[in-house]
Symmetry: D2
Subunit: 269 residues, 4 copies
């Protein structure tokens, strides 16, 4: 069935003939294997360009910052899935990645979108950065959208990963433009939102990556790639010592059933 | 419900308190972000150790070798999925990873298992490497198992990525033990199998990684992590210029329906 | 980690003791197995009530209407996934379901939301049904949202499944309230949108289901459950005669590579 | 890329022209919608035949028996996934289905395979059913394979769903051939395995379905389709009252970290 108008698939990422695999214009075997690190190559495939040193430093730092954070819900889902279906590691990784959604890890891309709007507003209106930040944050509030990338369930202070990422960005000589935007948002939040919500890692990621030219719409790929690595480490631990079912047992110990029961049914003690 | 005996979940990968995230004994913010590349960190999370330089070189090379190979079936599945469900990039990546199975990319781990059996056979029996390879390959044939990691749909000669990976391994000073095992298998195949099946990239990966101490059962993670990166690059291209439905239209142009039809039904011209 | 305020999980769907499994207040083994059909039981689990005969007829009809439509993109994704990873049928089904998104099958729930808004607008404003439909469709246009459930890539006339579903609804004595809303939208579209977009199956599904009390937010479950059944049938055919790789081969026959190539690279003829 | 020899995709399930959708030789809109229940249609799509009344009764009963069993691991994975990624219901269902693997729900198909081997052994050797069962169960033990479908973490007696399914099969007049095989296995287990493992629902499913001609290799589809329905019901409850994060919080309350920590690190009290 034809859906949409285009029928000829086009791509600019990879082609090959019998001897050579071409990736973004380079010979994979001659120019890339052994010459680029994995994250450099990711940047090349995504953007068509090799990363500058600052971009490389910032990209590695953001990936490293969110690869692992303990037995979070997506890791639990992956380990339970592996315990039930050990024939398919790929299925357990997929189950974990499916939780990289708008609530937990998608905020990085949403924060990036907000930062770009603030920067555009400032440039077009000629107002100060803080005023531009206030305009956009008020818009989000009016539309009842959360301000993405601020506040944290655990930390009242800034998530410690924020300072670490900002340090890498500064030391690598990356543009601080979007770091400033991110901090302007933090400054205007208390007056507009009525709470002192601090920058969390999901705002820090676009703050440093947009400054090195990383494409905003590709930001969703950062947590997905990072978590793939974290999930694989957890699944290797799971292969050697399974806790998937122990996690699911613990999860249900306090469950309360608030539906009806047939006459005479007695819950187990 | 209690499934199995253990009820207390244990992990040695990550813990945290309000200020500090600890990963494999290190402080994530102080010791890791900005200091380790993404692939170094992956090795650390997986094994508990920072990689030696040879291990690092070989790990990057294997990941780079299989990240991307054009519009392969799993990339097609991911791009079709994104075209139909653009609200969920994570779902499109998951759909692509679900094709990293035993037929296409799972062979790396299976080849690694075969190489370890050959090495064990040689060590225990005191026979030559080629004899040990022949013993194990004959066992596979007797059990009607394919010899994993040999032969290729396109290339009659060795896949060009094999030489590139072996070069990296040699130049990095990595142990050549499992490269020798892999080449012994290649030598004994013609007599036993009756065909001249050459080493492909799925055999080259364990050949170089087992030599630097990468754990065999974690080999399944290599194609999964690599393909996550490749899929994200394809999905970013898909966001900017969609071909998911064009691929699915092309796929069905030659479809033949060989079931029954009701009286009077005429296929579209 | 604590995310959100609630810490005690509650559910009203199922509980059990050593002898009895209770589902929605009934004894699964005594009251349900052998007494309810699979789709009746689905309705019970979802809503807590057994379906009335009209609800049952309409539910079966909507599920049947969208279970199968040939080698659509999600079926292709599932069959390619199975061909690559035959050890995990569940992974291939999951890959197919991941394409049940906003573009292809999610429109049913979106159309249901639009119908409820029209009905509320009519009831609150005291205007005619067509006027209420026009108000809401104009709102969608102003917000640049597509009108969900109208128009079809193939059919200029109404999709034939629409009439079949409306017939079932009428014969079963179901309320026609939302069928009338759906037809009012179809009447006002040409003036507002400038094109004669006809009701398709994604609008017909909420039109008949909302009339029998099926919950609007559960509408997303209808295509997902239906497609699970269709995917399983395709995967059973795939087990017996694999076409997953043939589909992916066809998909790429006309691919055009529009990136750069290294000097001297010649595409295969 | 061409993988394998076949390049022309064929299917016998569905075709269509501009007016008519043909499924297994029938006109979907004229012959199927409103005339077949959802589970009847599933049987038709899978096998190409409409089910006989006994097959229909048994199919509905098996699907109903395993649709729902409370907050099992796959339901937890799905609810955690939805809480983190509410934009994609399909992703949460997929995450749940990925746990329908060899350990938890795949046993139905494996038990079916064992029953067919016993029946073939009996027919070919002319020995008694119990002797044939003993031969095959001994083979499984010799190969260190578990006997699929026997024993249960909770119930020492037979799972109550077994009797319910056998009742439906008997009352529907279905062949009892494979019920007898299943009971023969139960009788020979104590002597061979040294434990009194009773038939569980995963063995009862093939016992009743193989008797009505349901294809053995399609048995994997039964838990997958059934659980799709159960997962949708849970996700609708999750939409209205989220417990995904409460489950994951509970899961980690007793976690023990047994890795290293940096000097001075103190776990939260």
């Amino acid at each position: 069935m034809k859906i949409g108008k285009e029928t000829i698939p086009r791509t600019a990422i990879c082609t090959s003939n019998e001897e050579t695999i071409v990736v973004r214009g380079l010979d994979l075997c001659g120019d890339v294997i052994g010459k680029l690190s994995f994250s450099e190559y990711f940047y090349l495939l995504l953007t068509g360009q090799r990363p500058q040193p600052a971009a490389q430093a910032v990209l590695d730092a953001t990936l490293v910052a969110i690869t692992e954070h303990g037995l979070v819900p997506s890791v639990q889902a992956a380990r339970m899935t592996y315990a039930a279906a050990p024939e398919a590691v790929q299925g357990a990784v997929a189950a974990g990645l499916l939780g990289c959604g708008s609530v937990i890890l998608g905020a990085a891309e949403q924060a990036g979108e907000m930062f770009e709007r603030i920067e555009t507003t400032r440039a077009e209106s000629g107002i100060s950065l803080d005023d531009a930040a206030a305009v956009v944050v008020r818009d989000y509030r009016a539309a009842r959208r959360p301000v993405p990338g601020y506040g944290h369930p655990l930390h009242k202070a800034r998530d410690p990963r924020v300072a670490a990422l900002f340090d890498v960005s500064r030391c690598a000589g990356a543009s601080q433009r979007f770091v400033e935007v991110a901090e302007a948002v933090e400054r205007v939040i208390p007056d507009i939102v009525g709470k002192d919500l601090r920058l969390n890692v999901s705002a820090a990621i676009p703050a440093v990556l947009l400054g090195v030219g990383f494409p905003r719409r590709a930001l969703r790929g950062i947590p997905i790639l990072a978590r793939s690595a974290g999930l694989i480490a957890h699944l290797f631990e799971e292969m050697n010592h399974s806790i998937g079912f122990a996690l699911s047992y613990q999860a249900t110990r306090e469950v309360q059933y608030d539906g009806e029961v047939p006459t005479g049914f007695a819950a187990d003690a």
